[in-house]
Structure formats: C-alpha cells, structure tokens
Symmetry: C2
Subunit: 130 residues, 2 copies
DNA sequence: TTAAGTGCAAAAAGTTTGCTCGTAA
DNA sequence: TTACGAGCAAACTTTTTGCACTTAA
C-alpha cells in the first residue's frame, strides 16, 4: 500500500458523487501533487477488479466510479445540472427479471438510467435558448 | 446526395441489427470500395442530427446505430454473443414515469438495457474457462 | 534486498477535423 | 461553374502500457 493509493482510496471514500477519472485525479493531486493520472487509472481498475468499485457509463465518453457497497440501486440524471440521484425499485427488479425470462434469458445485470428534468422547469431549445 | 451517402443509407436501411461504425464501413465498402471511414462517421452524425438515426451505447466503447422510426423499445443484450434483442414494456414505462415524479422530476428519456444469458447456459469464469 | 508500484511518454482505439481535390446539380 | 461532399492524414480524447526508476515491506 503506497502513499498514492492511500490518497486515491481516501478521495474515493470521501466522494458521495460519481466522479470520473479526471475528477479523481484533480481531487487526489490536491492532497498530494506527485500522483500521475496513470496511477489513478491503474488504481480504479484494481479496485474494480477487486469488487470494491463499480464502473458506470452515463454517456459522455468517460467512465465514472462509485463504491460497490452502496447496495443495489439505479440512477436518475438531472439533464440540466448533471447531478445523479440514486433510487431503488423492487417492482422494477422483478419486472425485468420477468421480461428476460419471457424472452428465454436469465438476467445477469441491467443498466437503467432515467434522464429527467426538475418538474416545472421550462423546456429549452437545443442551443439553450428559450 | 452523393454515391457514398446513397450506399451508406442503403446499408443502414438494410440493417436489422445495431451495427457500429466499423461494421457499417465494412458493409459499405463491400458495395463500393471508394468510401472512407471518415465519410461513414460524417454520415451517421448527419443522420443522427436529422433524427433519422439514433446512436446507442451498449458499452464496449463504440457507438452503435439504429433507425429512429422503429418505435419505442428497449434492449436486451446477449452477453455471450453480443446480439441485441428489442422489447417493449408498457408497465416499465409507467413505472419509470412514476419513479421520476416521486423524486420531483419529469422523465425526459431513459436508458434501459438488460444484459442477459440464454437460459440454461453454463456460467463461466472471467477468462472464459468453464 | 526485491517485488510491487509509480511516472512519463508513447501507444491504442474511437472519433473528429483541416485541407485539398472531386463531383452533383 | 460552384458549393457541398469526400479522402487522407493529422489531431483529439480517453484509457492502457512499456520501461526505467522508486519505494514499501
């Protein structure tokens, strides 16, 4: 266990959001400037392989990470702010297992992300103009 | 409308799967060898911007495409073969609109992908060995 | 001491873009 | 003819990797 990994682990356990590698790197170098982005990549991969971290893909090209010990949940992404809200839904779980079964499959995992806008917010044009 | 775009459009409308750009390029060059991959990228982007194509991200780093006029559906990905099966589920739709509402949001879109294995198939180790 | 870990820079892989040339209309 | 599109190669972005050096144990 090196100093770099300790710092990265601390950053991760302090995070209650879903940072990408660049963001982890930014936070880690604040605590200890002699950490390279390669080490961040290597560390998250290691932690993912050990089941400690989970890699998420919310679109946008970069992987984002969250601790695995958070229990089973899905994500709602606020499309105006980028914020991620976690939620659970037992009925959803059951429903999807059934759907897979009906198609002749065994459900292994699923990706469910809701892209939503805070209720009452005005809809805007593609370019951001009202 | 150039010959290249015509070929790419033909390939797309003939496709009943969810090809990525490389695969589209492969199919297109079979019909007309003087098509570059840059043109494929430019064409799918154009078609996506015009709402004719939809870009999907099933993991694996590459974007995949499908026509927009297929109606509302979700995807089940066979994790052993990579094949994609489409399905619908009205209950799911309703459920997710409710979940978003409960959290104070308006559902704009959602991503739902089931990763599953054909029922009865043996589970294998990470390296593919039984 | 020594095996594991790190930094750096280069390499991959997927996608976009600048520039020049070709071609549809 | 001329403006839009294509080809090529270079650039870009995210992630991985080879290699020499450092360091924890």
């Amino acid at each position: 266990m090196t100093g770099q990994r300790r710092v990265i682990a601390r950053v991760l356990s302090a995070a209650d959001d879903h940072p990408d590698v660049e963001e982890l790197y930014r936070r880690a170098t604040t605590l200890d400037a002699r950490i390279s982005i390669a080490t961040v990549y290597r560390t998250v991969r290691l932690l993912e392989e050990h089941g400690i971290l989970e890699r998420r893909d919310f679109g946008g090209g970069r992987a984002r990470y969250e601790p695995s010990d958070q229990g089973h949940h899905y994500h709602l992404i606020d499309i105006d702010t980028g914020k991620v809200i976690e939620f659970q839904d037992a009925e959803q779980d059951r429903l999807m297992r059934e759907v897979a079964e009906r198609l002749g499959f065994e459900l292994v995992s699923l990706r469910l992300e809701l892209f939503a806008r805070r209720a009452g917010r005005p809809r805007r044009g593609r370019d951001g103009t009202p």
